[in-house]
Amino acid sequence: MPTKNCAWLRPIFFACLSLVVALPAAAQQQPPIRIGQTLSLTGPFAQTGLAHQIASEIFVERLNKSGGLLGRQVEYVVLDDQSKPDISRTLYEKLVTADKVDLILGPYGTAAILAAMTVAQRYHKVFVENTLGQPGLATYEWHFSATIGGADSTSTLPGKVLDAFNSTPHPPQNVLIVSSKFPSAQDMAHGMQRAADARNLKVLGFLEYEAGTRDYGTIAARIKDANPDFMFVACLGVEGSQILEALNKIGYKPTRHFYLYPSGLMAADPLADHATSYSGFEDVAPYTSTKEGGEFAAEYNARALKAGLPYPHVDSQAGNEYSGWQILVAGVKATNSLDDGKIAAWLDKNSVETIEGKRDFSGRSHTSASDTQQLKQAQNGKWVAIWPPEARTPGASLIAP
């Protein structure tokens, strides 16, 4: 990957020349199209940042192998925002005004995306992001969300979850909401509270914990004490597994449980059997049934294994990133141009085929028109798709008591 190797030298180069205002452009015959983004390669979100980086690299390589974009090769410029929104914003300024990349893609994480979007807005860059917690709140007119939850997923996803469990022989009579004090998780937890109230489902409690909680023993004790029919956990990363571990230590097994953004690792955890979560792309049919989806998944798994990731399987994070690239590149190809305005105008009116399904941006703030998120469940050490019924992994269904 020669492009990657010289990318990290560039900041040094630019810093050395920081007093030189005009940089002589290197004369090249067909310079590559440069597409830039920042990712949380270090810091607390580095786990997820890595998944996004792998997905991006796979997409760019596949694109270049199939002839590139507009007859030119594509160079992927990724910078590390250290999981900090202020650095993300600064680096987008750098990408746009100093590195002068042709196009940008959004970073990972709500805070970083919002910080970066102000830059995109200032320089009128089309801005495709794929992980904004509440994309309906974006105000920039050239913002396009690759998320599949629609503008109001904090309302629609909880409803969907309750629908799924209500379809089982014994629908839950009450719910306990456990939420990380992380903005997007918090919003979803409040959405669940509203959904439960609307359906007269008794809410046994609303437990909030700090993101850096070190010991989940007491939270587990409270869950056990409440003994809910359904446990809705708005968590991130391994928090879900930690809660399950703590529950196991006090001899409690939840009957029906949902985790918002679990790390892929959760599926492999025997304690997490029958845990549910939202899903956009997983390492099973039907997601891998398409040609591109299957190839992407296989390639991702191979690279994740090589990178030594503990759960070397493609997931929604990687899938979202990949479809974000698909959306941007579709805009370029259709307009045959790198003009941000033209691309935005085209995306505004058209739909794009991605590995996460057909996407349009007719929802508020250029989100998808409806919530097309699916639900998955951990079964025998793997995630399988279980909701909606028409998009199930063959042979799978929601297992609930």
């Binding site: 580095a46 940042g49 070190r214 010991d215 023993g217 004790a221 004490d225």
Partner: protein, 283 residues
């Protein structure tokens, strides 16, 4: 109102978590109190120890106690070497904090470079077993961490109190020039202590590997609470470090049980501030 069993279970959790806090605080308290070195790198090498335990265990099937033995020896040497650098350059209390902060960043970067930033879990068949007492559950691993913390704290306390080496160390901490005048070899003693502090971090690391989920950035999640524990327990007092850990652990657990888990930090740090302001005798 929370049920009685919930309160009892929280109490157990709090005490056991407090043991882990105490285990981490032990080395920090000793090096701060007796060597006047504030070692922010303590957390980093504890996590490094955890990663090594996990790595030896999952890649080579080395049992945690054996890994622990290797780590303790290696870290002891590291502690001695670190102290040699501190002595060689006559590092002050302030500067030691800065240097060890940088060391922590280096460890974090190294961990991420070798094992990626992704979460790591050390799965053991016996890792989540518990003893059941009535309606209460006592997780075996956490209990073991607690007992080891008690053992180390008590042992260190006795060592400092009853042995020549220990008394000499305390004398040096109180008045180095006079202690040296009485013929105490300050240098050699401080090397031993520094090595020991690092070894304690290694022991804490083994238990962190077994009970927690690992990620390089977690180095920083322990800093605030363990510093609080160190001060509550009084600098250089091993039993105090453990007692401080239990106090904070119980405060956190009871807040989580009675109010809402997210208020835990407020209550434990308010307790700390109150202790500092209205200093009872034992602080």
């Amino acid at each position: 109102m929370p049920s009685l069993s919930l309160l009892e279970q929280s109490l157990i959790t709090g005490v056991l978590t407090g043991g882990l806090y105490g285990l981490l605080a032990l080395g920090l308290s000793m090096s701060w109190g007796l060597l006047r070195l504030v070692n922010l790198g303590h957390f980093a090498i504890a996590l490094l120890g955890a990663y090594i335990t996990w790595w030896l265990g999952t890649a080579y099937g080395v049992a945690p106690w054996l890994a622990g033995a290797i780590i303790v020896v290696a870290f002891f040497i590291y502690g001695v070497a670190l102290h040699w650098v501190f002595m060689r350059f006559a590092v002050t209390e302030m500067a030691s904090m800065l240097i060890t902060f940088a060391l922590a960043v280096i460890v974090e970067s190294t961990l991420q470079f070798i094992w990626t930033a992704d979460f790591r879990r050390y799965e053991t068949p016996w890792g989540s077993e518990s003893w059941i007492v009535g309606s209460l559950y006592v997780p075996k691993l956490n209990l073991m961490a607690f007992l080891v913390a008690c053992l180390l704290a008590g042992g260190t306390w006795a060592w400092l109190r009853y042995t020549y080496v220990g008394r000499a160390l305390r004398a040096c901490a109180e008045d180095a020039p006079i202690a040296i005048a009485y013929g105490i070899n300050h240098r050699r003693l401080s090397f031993i202590l520094s090595g020991l502090c690092a070894a304690y971090a290694g022991v804490a690391g083994v238990f962190i590997a077994l009970v927690a989920t690992l990620a390089p950035s977690q180095i920083w999640s322990w800093v605030g609470v363990v510093f609080a524990v160190v001060i509550i327990g009084r600098l250089g007092n091993p039993v105090g470090a453990l007692a401080g850990g239990i106090l904070i652990g119980v405060c956190e657990a009871l807040t989580m049980a009675v109010i809402n888990p997210s208020w835990a930090a407020l209550v434990s740090f308010s307790v700390l501030i109150a202790l500092l302001l209205f200093k009872p005798r034992w602080v």
